[in-house]
Symmetry: C2
Subunit: 309 residues, 2 copies
């Protein structure tokens, strides 16, 4: 099968350039592809928004794929879910009200629920099929939905935010896919302005923000939009995730005007002993890796570091 055929099959969400393997080929990362050996395809479906696939891989556990792009594997999802959640929530004292946009698999909910100060967790996911598939195939991820503090809203994140009273949330976590497809709006300035409005003074947002190795141009735009929108802190952090392109993923962490937030020095460390006994121990996050996540290689620091622009 040639590469063009691979691209065609990607359009249908089931790229399989190496027969018996899943290959992730995308115009988002031209000229490279990561492949996982497939033991068995467990689910294939098409929702109103995207193609959804679940397969059993031979060495990464079960894998969730949206529009041909790996969203999570059982083996390494801990890194992404724990970092996108605890980077913001450990940076402010006593977060009480949290909004998750996207994140339909439930993994971020599972992590938010570790924080005993949290009273209310809203989640707005556009695609109900992602929720259902996760509950069926990824019970250790979708377990987040079982927390009684969680309310699921199926719908568009932008529309949801427009209806949120000003200053409602302490933290907003935007767990989106890439800015091609249903998540495109979540990388644009009007969306960030709605997020800022929904946050209390000194509230925080953490958004998925791509890889410095692959998408510095997208990241520079996000940073620029965030610097215009959020009048508190604006920082970029990153973590290793083997099954994401380039092996890493970044996050934008911003705060609104109000009590200052120093993201690099977490004031609300999460203690494993405080976690509910029913929740598995943290696999990835700790206070040291929190601080380290904000240290950038020189090539990135020059473009988006505190002194850049």
């Amino acid at each position: 099968m040639d590469v063009e055929a691979g691209k065609d099959s990607l359009v249908n969400g089931f790229s399989s350039v190496i027969p018996g393997w899943f290959s992730e080929i995308s115009s988002m990362w031209p000229g490279e592809a990561h492949s996982l050996k497939v033991e068995k395809i467990l689910f294939q479906g098409k929702s109103d928004y995207q193609n959804i696939m679940v397969f059993q891989s031979s060495t990464y556990g079960k894998v969730l794929v949206l529009d041909g792009v790996i969203q999570l594997t059982e083996r390494d999802e801990c890194a992404y879910q724990e970092m996108i959640t605890h980077l913001p929530l450990c940076s402010i004292p006593n977060p009480r009200k949290v909004l998750v946009i996207g994140g339909g698999d439930g993994g971020v909910l599972r992590e938010v629920a570790r924080h005993s100060s949290v009273e209310k967790i809203d989640i707005c996911e556009i695609d109900n099929m992602v929720v259902d598939v996760s509950k069926q195939y990824f019970p250790d991820v979708a377990v987040g939905y079982e927390d009684p503090r969680v309310t699921l809203h199926i719908g568009d994140g932008v529309a949801f935010l427009k209806a949120v009273p000003e200053g409602t949330y302490d933290a907003v976590i935007v767990d989106s896919s890439d800015p091609i497809g249903p998540a495109q709006e979540l990388f644009e300035k009007p969306f960030f302005e709605l997020v800022a409005k929904s946050l209390r003074p000194g509230g925080v947002v953490c958004t998925q923000a791509e890889s410095i190795w692959l998408h510095m141009d997208i990241i520079e735009d996000i940073v620029s939009n965030c610097r215009q929108t959020f009048k508190g802190s604006v920082n970029y952090a990153w973590t290793t995730v083997p099954t994401y392109p380039s092996g890493m993923i970044g996050f934008m962490l911003c705060s609104t005007e109000g009590p200052p937030v120093d993201f690099k020095h977490p004031v609300n460390p999460i203690d494993e002993n405080e976690c509910q006994k029913s929740v598995r121990p943290l696999k990835f996050y700790n206070s040291e890796i929190h601080a380290a996540a904000f240290c950038l290689p020189s090539f990135a620091k020059r473009k988006i570091g505190p002194k850049a622009n």
Copy 2:
């Protein structure tokens, strides 16, 4: 072409499971493969030790492959070369004598040469063809050989170390391939003992030490061997490298008994202004990323952190 055929072609060092692409399939990372689109194969050869290939990729520049495994790409080699070199050399004051084992491409030499305190740089590379190929195809990497402080020794690293007078070097950098093939000995205890002997009291070694996502068992062995051998500090650090399996690579940093070395707090920061004008600016390394490199995810910290064992 099926996967078995891919494995067969890997034996010859020229894996190409996706026609027109190079795919890295290995028993070292079963069930996954990273692929790069090939524009043109520039060199294929078989030395006394391994298969060597150079190709022009479509998005990562030229790529050096040994026995089917990517050693460097022009796009991301800065991360590996700068980190494996400056993590040890910035951790001790005024390094003067440095030994590089492996590293035939010359990239580590290029980085060592940034340190104006260094008077003598020995390199012991087993495979002369790697040196020649790098000089021909990777001039920006092999530029390290042009420094007058460099002496190239072609031969076996273990034999070389046996002949080194005790306490000769301030720092030893082991830039090896994986522990399958010609580099196998470089991961075993007798080798570490020879390295320790070659170092002055309070001297430092940095060795390539695999990925915590893939090879925790190998890393635990290395850490155990190093704790028995090096009576100063023993630390594991890591960096992001997109074209290495799992998107990251680790390093063991150890010091011999003597003046204490605190690897996490570099005492010899490298100032870009001090670098020779002919050398390109640092792309990746800085003092912040140095300190951050020692922060480990919880799953790794439990196994090899300071309190483990």
